[in-house]
C-alpha cells in the first residue's frame, strides 16, 4: 500500500534548477533508501517533504491526502518526522522533557505532571526496546542514544514516516546494529522510513527499496534485492564525461614530503610520498578523515604516531609555525570561517602569514607589500580594484585567490588545499584548476582534498581514497573515475 507519493517535483533557487521532475514513492512498512551524491538534490527534496521549502511544481500525497504546500506544522501533524543529522534535541533538558516538549501534560493549575510524563516516556522506551533513562540529561547520552531518543520522540507523536538523514554518521558498529534492529522492528509494525546514507554496505543490509537522484533528476528506483552495490554506484555517478584537456603529465622532481605510518584524531597509519611538481588528490566520503589528515600535516593537531619529513627534515608535529617554517602551507576548507579576516583589506589579508615568518623586522614596508600583491594579482589573475578594498567585497573565487597568494607569499613548497573550490561558481572553479596545474608546473607540490571526483580527474597525478581514516586505495591518474572512487570510498569493493 502506498504511503507517500511525490511526483513531478520541480524546484529552482534564484533561477538555478535544483530539482527537475523528481519522483519518490514509499510504501507502508518499508525502509526506502534515498541515494545521490553531494548536491544531487536529496536535502532539497526532503526539505520540500517536511515543509521547509515549497516546490515550484509537483504534487505530494501522504496517506491518501494531498499535502502539497502544507506548512511544517501540518506536515508534522500528518505524521512525517525528520530526524536531522544535527539532532534537534535540547541538551540541557532531560530525556522525557525532550519527548514532551511543546506537548507537556499539566494539572488544571498549570503545573507539570512530571512523574506521569516520565512514566509514559519509560513505557515508550520499553515498547521500542530503547534503553534510555527518562530522567537522563540529554547532554550525557551517547550519540546513538540521542539518535534513538529523537526517533522515539517522533514515534510518540504518531509519526508514520521517519526521514533518517545519515543516522549512522556518528555511531560505532555495535550502535549501528542496535539501531538497525529497532528500525527493522518498527518497520515490521508498519512504520515507514526514508534512509539517507552514503554507506553502501548499510544500505544493502537495511533497506527494502531505493530511489537514485543525480543532478536534481530522478534516475531510477526499485527493490534493493534486485540490484548490486556496483550497479547502484554506476547509477549514482552516471556516465559522467569530463574534459581532461587541462591535464598533462609533468616531469616530477625530487622527493619533497614523506609521510610514514602517520596517525592522529580521525586518520590512521597513512603512508605516502610526494615529489616536487606532483599533485596528489585525497578523497573519500564526508568524515573519511582526509581533512583531518591535512590538518595533522599542517600541525593544527598533535599527531598520535608516525613520521612526517619535509625535504628530508623531520617535523615534530603539532605546531603550525614549525610546518610553515618547513615550507608547508594550508588553504583550509570553509573559507569564511577559516580564512577570511573580515575587517581587513586584501593586502592585509595577503601579507599576514608571511609576517609571522618575518616578525623580526618590525615595520611594514607598504610599498614592497603592494608590489608583491601586484605580482600575485597578476600571477593568479585576482580581479580587484585596489589592494585597500575590503576582503568581503570580492567574490568567493577571487577571495580564494587572495588566500592562495597569502601562502605563495610565504614561499611554501608544499601546498595543502582543503576543498579549495567550495562555494565557488563553475567558471571560477576551472580557473582554480588551471592555477593548481600551473603552480605544479612551476615546481610546487600540491595535495588537494576534495569530495568532488571530477575535480580530481582534472588535476591529480595520483589519488588516495580514504575510508574511516585509512587509505584504502591508491589510484593513478588514468584510473580516477567516479565509479572506481565511489566503489572504494563506500567500501563496497570487497
Amino acid at each position: 500500500m502506498e504511503l507517500l507519493n511525490m511526483s513531478g517535483i520541480y524546484k529552482a533557487f534564484s533561477g538555478v534548477s535544483v530539482l527537475s521532475g523528481v519522483e519518490l514513492h514509499v510504501n507502508v512498512g518499508e525502509i526506502h533508501a534515498l541515494l545521490g551524491e553531494n548536491g544531487a538534490g536529496k536535502s532539497t527534496l526532503m526539505n520540500i517533504l517536511s515543509g521547509s521549502y515549497t516546490a515550484d511544481a509537483g504534487t505530494v500525497t501522504f496517506d491518501g491526502a494531498d499535502i502539497t504546500g502544507s506548512s511544517i506544522k501540518q506536515i508534522e501533524d500528518a505524521g512525517i518526522a525528520f530526524v536531522h543529522q544535527e539532532l534537534n534535541l535540547f541538551n540541557d533538558l532531560l530525556a522525557y522533557e525532550n519527548i514532551f516538549l511543546g506537548a507537556e501534560e499539566t494539572t488544571p493549575w498549570g503545573s507539570l505532571k512530571k512523574r506521569d510524563m516520565a512514566n509514559k516516556a519509560a513505557e515508550l522506551f520499553e515498547r521500542l526496546g530503547v534503553d534510555i533513562d527518562p530522567y537522563a540529561l540529554v547532554d550525557d547520552l551517547k550519540p546513538s542514544e540521542k539518535q534513538l531518543l529523537e526517533i522515539s520522540r517522533a514515534l510518540f507523536r504518531n509519526a508514520k514516516l521517519l526521514i533518517l538523514d545519515e543516522p549512522t554518521a556518528s555511531l560505532n558498529t555495535d550502535e549501528v546494529e542496535h539501531m538497525f534492529q529497532i528500525v527493522r522492528g518498527l518497520r515490521d509494525k508498519g512504520t515507514s522510513f526514508i534512509f539517507i546514507s552514503h554507506k553502501m554496505p548499510e544500505i544493502f543490509e537495511l533497506c527494502d527499496t531505493y530511489t537514485v537522484l543525480r543532478n536534481g533528476k530522478f534516475i531510477a528506483n526499485g527493490n534493493i534485492s534486485d540490484t548490486t552495490p556496483r550497479e547502484v554506484t554506476n547509477l549514482l555517478v552516471g556516465a559522467a564525461l569530463s574534459d581532461r584537456d587541462a591535464y598533462e603529465p609533468r616531469e616530477l622532481g625530487e622527493e619533497m614530503l614523506r609521510v610514514e605510518h602517520f596517525s592522529g584524531e580521525g586518520f590512521t597509519d597513512v603512508t605516502f610520498t610526494a615529489r616536487r611538481g606532483q599533485i596528489i588528490g585525497l578523497t573519500g566520503l564526508k568524515g573519511c578523515g582526509s581533512s583531518e589528515l591535512m590538518q595533522g600535516l599542517f600541525g593544527i593537531y598533535h599527531p598520535s604516531g608516525g613520521n612526517v619529513e619535509v625535504c628530508g627534515k623531520k617535523l615534530h608535529g603539532g605546531s603550525i609555525h614549525e610546518a610553515m617554517g618547513a615550507g608547508i602551507a594550508m588553504l583550509p576548507a570553509d573559507r569564511k570561517e577559516n580564512s577570511v579576516i573580515p575587517d581587513m583589506s586584501l593586502l592585509e589579508n595577503m601579507y599576514l602569514s608571511e609576517h609571522v615568518l618575518s616578525a623580526r623586522s618590525f615595520a611594514i614596508n607598504t610599498k614592497r607589500e603592494n608590489e608583491r600583491f601586484e605580482k600575485y594579482g597578476k600571477l593568479l589573475n585576482i580581479k580587484a580594484n585596489s589592494s585597500a578594498d575590503n576582503i568581503n567585497s570580492l567574490s568567493g573565487g577571487n577571495q580564494q585567490k587572495v588566500f592562495l597568494a597569502r601562502w605563495l607569499n610565504t614561499d611554501a613548497q608544499v601546498l595543502l588545499l582543503d576543498n579549495p573550490t567550495q562555494g565557488i561558481d563553475v567558471g571560477a572553479k576551472s580557473e582554480i584548476y588551471h592555477l593548481i596545474l600551473d603552480l605544479a608546473r612551476k615546481g610546487k607540490t600540491v595535495i588537494i582534498n576534495t569530495l568532488e571526483i571530477p575535480e580530481l580527474r582534472e588535476v591529480a597525478d595520483v589519488c588516495y581514497v580514504l575510508y574511516e581514516g585509512r587509505v584504502v586505495k591508491e589510484l593513478a591518474h588514468d584510473e580516477i573515475n567516479e565509479q572506481t572512487v565511489m566503489l572504494y570510498s563506500t567500501n563496497s569493493a570487497a
Binding site: 610553515m324 579576516i341 609571522v356
Partner: protein, 348 residues
C-alpha cells in the same frame, strides 16, 4: 553570494566617509565647544589643562584599546593602578630614585598584566571573569599592604601611600608631575600624547599591530594563517599592564601619594567608555587607537563642564553615561534608520 552583498558597504561620498571614520573628533569638538561657552571662551591654558587631566586615564585607555581590539576586556586596570602606584611610592621612598621608580612601575604593571594574560591567552579563561577576579585581588592587596607594612615605607601615612617629602628627589619628581614644557604643555600630557603616537604607529604600521587586528577580527582564521593567537592575547594584557604601570608613575608624580581605596576607582569603566566612544568595537578587530585619545579627553572635558557650571559632582557619571548612550545610539540607530528609509523607498 548573499553574504557578500550584505557585507559590501555602499561606498559613501569621500567627505561623509571621513566624518564617519573620525566621528570621535566630532564628539570631542561638540563637548569642547559646550565647555568653552560655559567657561567664558576658548583659553589656551584651559585647553592644555585637558591634556594634564587626561594623562593617566588616557594612558590606561590605550592599553584597554588594544585589549579590546583582540576582542577581550580588562576590568582590572583601575585596581591595578592603585596597586602599582602604592608600591611605586614605597620603591621611591626606599630608593630616592625617579628612574628606578619608573622602571619598577612599568615592570610591576607588566607583571600584573602577565597574570591576566596567561590566564586569558594560554589557560583560555574568559577575560571578563579573569580580570573581574584580579580587579578584586589587586585592590584588596593594595589596601591590605597599606595597613600592614611599616609606616616609614609609606611616608608615615595611615591609610595612604605618601611620598616622603624629605627625600632629595621629591622636589624634582613633583616638578616633573606638575611642570610644563615651554610653560604651556603639561609634561604628563606630553607623555600621554607620545604614547598615543607610539601606539598609533604600532597599530597601523607594524606587523605586530596588524596581528592584533587579525586576532580580534577572526581568531580562528588568524590561527590558521600561522599567528600564535595565545601569545598575542597574552601580550596585549602585558602591554596594557605596562601602560597602567606608566599611568601609576604619572599619578604619583602628579599627586605625590596614592590612596589604595580610591585611586583608580571606576577607571576600568572610564577606560572602556573612552575606547567605545573612540570607535573601537568591543567585539574586536575594528577601530583606531587615535579614537581612544579623543574618547578619554571628551570625558575629561565633561568633568570640567560640571565644575564650570558649579554643579554637584555627583551628577558627573549620569552625564557621562548619557553621552555614551547617545553617541552609540547614533552609531547603531543611524544605519538602521537608513536601511528602513531606503527600504520604504524601494516599496514605493
Amino acid at each position: 553570494m548573499k553574504d557578500a552583498a550584505v557585507n559590501k558597504k555602499p561606498a559613501p561620498a569621500g567627505l561623509l566617509n571621513i566624518v564617519k571614520t573620525y566621528s570621535f573628533v566630532l564628539v570631542f569638538l561638540v563637548i569642547y565647544i559646550v565647555y568653552a561657552s560655559v567657561s567664558g571662551g576658548f583659553a589656551l591654558g584651559a585647553a592644555m589643562n585637558v591634556f594634564r587631566h587626561s594623562a593617566v586615564i588616557g594612558v590606561i585607555a590605550i592599553g584597554m584599546g588594544i585589549v579590546c581590539l583582540t576582542g577581550d576586556i580588562d576590568l582590572s586596570v583601575g585596581s591595578m593602578l592603585a596597586f602599582v602606584a602604592g608600591f611605586s611610592v614605597v620603591v621611591f621612598n626606599q630608593t630616592n630614585s625617579i628612574p628606578l621608580t619608573l622602571l619598577f612601575a612599568v615592570l610591576f604593571g607588566a607583571l600584573c598584566g602577565l597574570i591576566n594574560g596567561v590566564l586569558v591567552g594560554i589557560v583560555q579563561m574568559p577575560s571578563f571573569i579573569v580580570t573581574l577576579a584580579t580587579m578584586l585581588i589587586y585592590r584588596s592587596l593594595s589596601q591590605y599592604a597599606c595597613q600592614h607594612i611599616p609606616a616609614e615605607l609609606i611616608g608615615n601615612g595611615s591609610s595612604v601611600f605618601r611620598m616622603s617629602n624629605a627625600l632629595d628627589s621629591y622636589r624634582a619628581f613633583y616638578a616633573f608631575g606638575n611642570g610644563k614644557v615651554a610653560g604651556i604643555m603639561p609634561i604628563v600630557g606630553l607623555i600621554m600624547v607620545l604614547m598615543v603616537v607610539l601606539f598609533v604607529y604600532i597599530c597601523t604600521s607594524t606587523k605586530f599591530g596588524k596581528k592584533i587586528y587579525a586576532v580580534g577580527s577572526n581568531a580562528r582564521a588568524a590561527h590558521l594563517a600561522g599567528i600564535n593567537v595565545s601569545a598575542m592575547r597574552t601580550l596585549v594584557f602585558v602591554i596594557a599592564g605596562a601602560l597602567v604601570g606608566l599611568g601609576a608613575f604619572l599619578w604619583i608624580a602628579m599627586n605625590a601619594s596614592a590612596d589604595p581605596a580610591t585611586t583608580g576607582k571606576s577607571y576600568e569603566m572610564y577606560a572602556i567608555a573612552a575606547v567605545v566612544l573612540g570607535g573601537i568595537a568591543m567585539s574586536g578587530g575594528k577601530g583606531r587607537i587615535l579614537g581612544v585619545l579623543f574618547g578619554a579627553m571628551s570625558y575629561t572635558v565633561i568633568d570640567k563642564i560640571i565644575i564650570a557650571l558649579k554643579m554637584d559632582s555627583l551628577i558627573n557619571d549620569t552625564i557621562k553615561g548619557v553621552i555614551l548612550i547617545v553617541v552609540i545610539l547614533i552609531q547603531v540607530a543611524g544605519p538602521q534608520l537608513k536601511a528602513r528609509f531606503g527600504k520604504s523607498k524601494v516599496v514605493k
